[in-house]
Amino acid sequence: MKIPYYPGCTLHERALDFDKASRECARALGIELEELETWTCCGAVFPLTTDSVMDILAGVRNLAYAARQGDKVVTLCSFCYNVLKRTNHALHTDAEKREKANLFLRADTEVRENIGSYLKEDYLGQVEVLHYIEMLRDIVGFDKIGGLVKKDLSGLKVAPYYGCMLLRPKKEMEFDDPEQPEIFEGLLGSIGCDVVDFPMKTECCGGFQVARDEETAAACSQTIINSASRRDADIIVTTCPLCRYNLDVMQEKMEKSVTGFRKIPVIYFTQLLGVALGIDEEYLDFSDNYVDPRPVLAEKSLV
């Protein structure tokens, strides 16, 4: 089964490990992630202005590109997912924006050339934006994944970290309960690890603040790491390259400033899924982490 896939810039550059592991897991589950033939950056942040169409055009353009390849598009990065989903929501709910955005699409010769005859009609928000984890739940099924697990993950205490972008704003994302989400727990439970529920699983990691003010990002991340640590987590899994970066790399600062600090590896959820499915380690690539997850995994004979 082929499903259109929008990787986004980060998975094409910095988070190659995330991209590689996710494609390989999909393959093992019988799904071919078919990268969009043409795509651009999604815009990275959904605009706070409500009266401008320009700011959502990147999202609209990518969704229009996706429309020629199918009625769904899967993405992994929380920021891309947030932008695409909210762009779609804006087109669904705001007729004026929908009309204006399509005027831009028609005027953009590059878009016309790329989309050409594929897009016979306007883009009205018809493509369903799915997060990879929703694909696992709704198209593959957590039960089926559980049946394909090859490694015994029991005893590995995994803390699922959601961050903000998957969940908020609630009415536009409609992903899960932003205060008490459960989808991640569902997946982790199905692959047999011990799920650690920790209260900071939906707190912000500091996000883009890291580019401007590392201290703030470090402080945010530290709250999250400490919380998971107090609940005895062995490892944290996440969906977002920026969250992964902050939670992982900021531990270098914490290590220096906090005595007795216990480092916790932070990996992508598809890397752990890959471990469970017995996927060859070369596709999982744990070399990019600041806190190396391999010792923890090796302790349970998982790598």
């Binding site: 309960d177 932003p178 205060e179 008490q180 209260p199 900071m200 107090r230």
Partner: protein, 652 residues
Amino acid sequence: MEHRIGVFVCHCGTNIAGVVDVKRVAEELASYPGVAFSTDYAYMCSDPGQNLVKDAIKEHKLTGVVVSACSPTLHEATFRRAGVGADLNPYMVEIANIREQCSWVHQKDKPRATDKAVKIIKTMIEKVKQDEALEPIAVPVTKRALVVGGGVAGIQAALDIANSGHEVILVEKEASIGGHMAQLSETFPTLDCSQCILTPKMVDASQHPRITLMTYCEVEDVAGYVGNFKVKIKKKAAYVNRDVCTGCGLCSEKCPSKTDSEFDEGLSKRKAIYTPSPQAVPNKPVLDADHCIYFKNGKCGICAKICPVDAVDYTQKDEFVDVEVGAIIVATGYDLYPMVNIGEYGGGKIKDVVTSLQFERLLSASGPTGGQVLRPSDGEVPKEVVFLTCVGSRDPENHKAYCSKACCMYLTKHAMLYKHNVHEGQAYLFYMDVRTGGKGYEEFYQRAAEEDDVLYIRGKVSKVFEEDGKVMVWGVDTLTGQKVEIAADMVVLGLAMVPSVGAVELAKKLKIQVNEWGFLSEAHPKLRPVESLAPGFYLAGAAQGPKDIPDAVAQASAAASKVASLFAEKEYHREPIIAFVDEDDCAGCRVCVSVCPYDAAEFDEEKKVAHIQEAICEGCGACIAACPSGSVTQKNLTDDQLFKMVTAALED
């Protein structure tokens, strides 16, 4: 017939006369066809004004009257009475509204306002010309009331009606009356014990010779109309013959099956055969089949064996009883907004985050801890307790937009009682505004803050979570702009009040309106606060909107007095401005039957035509608009009348 119509133009001080040239209006209309008399006067609704109308009717032998004044909702009844005083049929008196619909809205254009006033009056003259003399429809009244809901509002309403000499049936879905008030510890602002002041009323209600108490019963169906309701009541199978039961309590004592106690809000266990509380009225048990071993596997049966009077009966079935009543008071009360909806405060998963009703049980001498404040997780005395107001209330984005009204006060009471219980403890109360509108309420709040050292923090709490045996509270103090973090032992949530489970479905059965949140709608928010728009239905207590005890009791007494005044007359008189069917034209399509919101339109199987039941029709006009053959007409609002009125309005 020769029309002799009188036109009376009111100045309403300067309300009308300041804009409309009333003299010119009266003069112009004097020569309008059919008008026999026309005049103006400063205050037509005053005694001299009404006498002017009466005298003119007699002197000029008027056949109809148009009073040109304010809205008919204000003085139509006044002038119709004046007509009766001069032997004129009241339905030959009409109001032309030249205040709300003319002078008040056209203050800047006096000449055209005057022209418009003339036109409005002309339309009403045309209406009066074809009005029929009607008589009010008299319906007999069954002088027995039904009160639905046995909380403090229902009990009070039942007692007041019974004391005014009428029979009352009080229906309560639980095994005991008392409602939420029976669960409370002490009450603000006087700190008197809730049960001490409620139980005498509960006993009064159960022993009153004119009150029939029907506990563990629900209203199944209601038919009929004001004065003549037929109500089907379901007696839920209690598996105990409660007439025979002596309430000795042996069955509960020996029952081996336990489940969470509803009365203690899940903080203690009750047996499968149980009375909700030691002070239950009636103090006789019911058997909860869902948790009974006998019903699960046919074994056990201890309660039946041990009962000294053989009252336990596993074969009992739901029974239905039909009763006839003249009026119905709905007092179905409230429930708390479920904690599971508040994910940011743990969504009900944190043991030491409790609801306000749970905290009442922890404070109550009859509660699971005997009145000691002990936290549910480990039974320790909590040293720091955080109270949160507006949990789910005043939050239109995520939950309920309205204020739940009682929470500021009962949380203040909670904090105060906690301090009386745990002297060295610290109570924090987060608030958006402390709303103390009520007699003695502000003083009570000042006492909590000053004498009992309750720390009031203005701000919302963003997150509550468990950490190392503590309940961590993250909030903000918006007066200092500081973030606040409290490692508390317990958190108490002042959850929004919502209509009780099943109340909205019941309202649908009764065909009474609810607002967007499910609270019962009153006929007028200020002037008819205890009546429903549907005649014969009255509202009491928190079913109509969030309320504290004094308000609920006051409203219950008010509703009871409305019922008593309905019962004071032999017959109830209904407006005769209703729909009727021209049987020659009616094709029997039954569209009117399907659109009638009051079930007044019915199909006559013999004649194969529709029929409107006079006693039920409210004159809303839905059937008239829906009828494809135009064979349904409103009395005194016929198509021909409307056509003449419109023509008069459009003439130059």
